[in-house]
Amino acid sequence: MATEKTTWIGRSVPRLEDPPLVTGRGRFAADINFPGQLHMRVVRSNHAHAKILSIDIAAARAMPGVYAAWTAADIPEVSPIDFREGRIEKLEPYRQPVLAKGRVRYVGEPVAVIFAEDAYAAEDAAEAVTVDVEELPVLLGADEPPGEFEPGRTTEVAVLVQGYGDVDAVFRTASKVVALDLVVGRHSGVPLETRGAIARYDASRDMLELHGAAKVPHRNRESLARMFGRSLASVHLFEWHVGGGFGIRGEIYPEDILVCVAAMRFNRPVKWIEDRQEHLVAANHSRQQRHKVRAAVDAEGRLLALDDTFFHDQGAYVRTHATRVPMMTCGILPGPYRVPAYRATGHVRLTNKTPAATYRSPGRFETTFVRERLMDAIAHELGIDRIELRRRNAVRKEDMPYALPLVVLGDEVEYDSGDYVGLLDKLLAHVGWDKLQADAKRRRDAGEAVGVGLSMFVEKSGLGPTDGTRVTVDTTGAVELVTGGASLGQGFETVMAQICADSLGVDYQRVRVVHGRTDRIEHGIGAHASRATVMTGSATQVAALKVREKALDVAAELMQAPVDKLDIIDGRVVRTDRPSGPSIGLGEIAAGLWPTRKTVGGREPGLSAEGWFHSEHQTYPYGVHIAVVKVDRETGGVTVERYIVGYDIGRAINPMLVEGQIVGGFAQGLGGAILEEFVYDERGQPLSVTFADYLLPTVRETPPVEVVLYEDYRSTRNPLGIKGAGEAGVTGVGGAIASAIDDAIGMPGAVTRLPVTPQRLKALLANGGRRPAT
């Protein structure tokens, strides 16, 4: 018998998720089928902005295999899609209707819907729907003057302002002002599994089920119950396997509502699986912003004030996230630097494009690009080394915790712990920064265009406010951990099992982790905002420790031993003072706590406990990205030769998975930096509607990433000291690669726009680094 306690936290153990996934036994949305199901196909607008004159669905309705066809007129009772946080009166007029009413506002907007016995028949019928429209002028730029959304309402849905200090006064007296005009392109998560939604209604129990849920099943249950006027107990969501989330998957979209309404009305299951072309015009886009940013600095390059006016391209409607991304943009722009006076003004404006919302590292990918471009520009203009400039401005470790009168995700910003300069210096030493720069210079002198760049950032993670879990040991000694979390491929089950196993004293493979099921636990906030490990993990620890305490209490009685001489090792309670003595398994203790057993005594029956964890503030990990790139002056192509991420995670539960998150995040950042962009023509027709024009990085463009994990500064906001890992790989990529490209082509400040496509880079080279007319 094991006498040494096995530690599970901090170990790169294999994932519990993998066996079904490598053998083809996963169950993704498209794999879910119910007897008698109908297949749904959405008819989408071909026009970016138009008045709907008529929609003819008669021909489609008459086609073989077609069960029903709807336009907005068929579902008058269905409201536009609610915000996740409930009512926000000012934004309500801009919510998306489930089917277009009166006007279409982007190409891809649902205008009608077909239900048929077979997916092919549904698609055939969708093509028979004719929509007669009168085209209206299109608005494609958030930096253009606002237009009319509807009579009496402009397309500027909000102007968000955050800041502190007398910014104008500082700028009036500052000796030096550096100003930039920067653009981040429109791109998005684009998971490899498209969306899917399968609804069924069981009239015998008056129960509505939605399968194919992800990310925030419990929050979506609340929204759906509210929209349908149903009790929470009569709506359940089920998350199966999810083929990537990245912020966009798992939000409530028109299709989710349509399958539910249809299932209830037809009393038949209804299945909808998105195709890729639909996905690229229908699922949330993200990122597109233009920033006019300026910094007031003193002669030594110290920031005195930061003033940013940005234009956030929201697309055609305000979806479930409301103004979360631009609000976050305002709150996190200062990042790792001390900014004495600050103002961010975000113009949130609608355009005739696919609606936008969060994509992994929302607001941080954008602001890190903006802020780090600005730091490079200040360094260049003042002739100060770019590292030295960052050292001078970074928040110091003695300033921690560092509070700012800013708000991120409804939370007041307070960086909890860290040493930003310390990490920077350690990472520079680790990579040999001076040699890296010298090597690049030598190659430039020999005619190559090679450069080195970096970006520094503060991440945010662990969004609260609360999470609860339930841990139960059954009579076989198996452990079930029921969470309100969600799994999008990140390794949620493994990490939760490790925390549970470590706290309780069992093998992590004995822990079955339940997530994404509203019928198993009442509350949950899901997996987003790098919150799962911090929040659900901490709640798991609380619950597991309670179960442990209960098990020891019972064991002390059964073994007639003092509790402080007992420990749980590999699922058995043993005496620490007599390791070879008798022991008792957790299964036997669970049997002793069976409700009918006398051994229950005055206790609650069952070897089970709920654990709750509350957090006032998020936790703020931080890091540095370093890029070495080579530019091909002939083609304008960028090759990333080397990429290093230094990141302080506080405490890694499973370093292999943390590294996986960072490397995978990097690849997405790389896409946004040089490849991926949703492009529109002047009439608002999307030009990136296949994987041939929307370019995801392949293995050829993606270099190996060196991840240097630090665990120097634990979070002070949870007992395990965890900070989140989900987004750090993405956050700094745009900034670091832009900086490296500048260096490679010897044109400081040349890159002002992402993605740096070959065409744009060639234009920059041709213009001698001046921004070409766009």
Partner: protein
């Protein structure tokens, strides 16, 4: 709707007699008519490779082929990769090297790599990169997929 054609598809050694419309893609028939849902659909235009299966030993995009074209041929899917409970070396290597996160692209990568390694056990690391660049993964950043496949290729070479 067009008339259905009766065909026999041999998937992982088992015959499936199905009646399908001639326009029905192989991947839809494998998944819907034959119930083998391990093969995934990621783009339906031959770019992402999530639907890769092996046909007569060659990796094929099953979204770009009609089922009727595959009648009578030897189709292998991810469900047939393991030998009973004995996992294929690539399946083990993917788990060991953390070469999957959401797992949606995994069957396609496994079928691509297994077909290529079977045909070309001595493939160079560089050529292997070319092969792997034909499929997309959105989670892993590829590094661990490359490690896993290279590890198995090395094992096969040393055998």
């Amino acid at each position: 709707m067009t008339d259905k054609v009766e065909i026999s598809l041999k998937i992982n050694g088992r015959e499936h007699r199905v009646a399908v419309e001639p326009r029905r893609t192989l991947v839809d028939v494998i998944r819907e008519d034959c119930g083998q849902t391990g093969t995934h659909i990621g783009c339906e235009h031959g770019v992402c490779g999530a639907c890769t299966v092996s046909i007569d030993g060659e990796p094929v995009r099953s979204c770009l082929m009609f089922a009727v074209q595959a009648a009578g041929r030897d189709i292998r899917t991810v469900e047939g990769l393991a030998n009973g409970n004995d996992l294929h070396p690539l399946q083990k290597a993917f788990m060991e090297h953390h070469a999957l996160q959401c797992g949606f692209c995994t069957p396609g990568f496994l079928m691509l790599a297994s077909s290529v390694l079977e045909r070309e056990p001595n493939i160079s690391d560089e050529d292997l990169l070319d092969v792997l660049s034909s499929n997309l993964c959105r989670c892993t950043g590829y590094a661990n997929i490359v490690k896993a496949v290279r590890a198995v290729a090395a094992q096969m070479r040393s055998r």
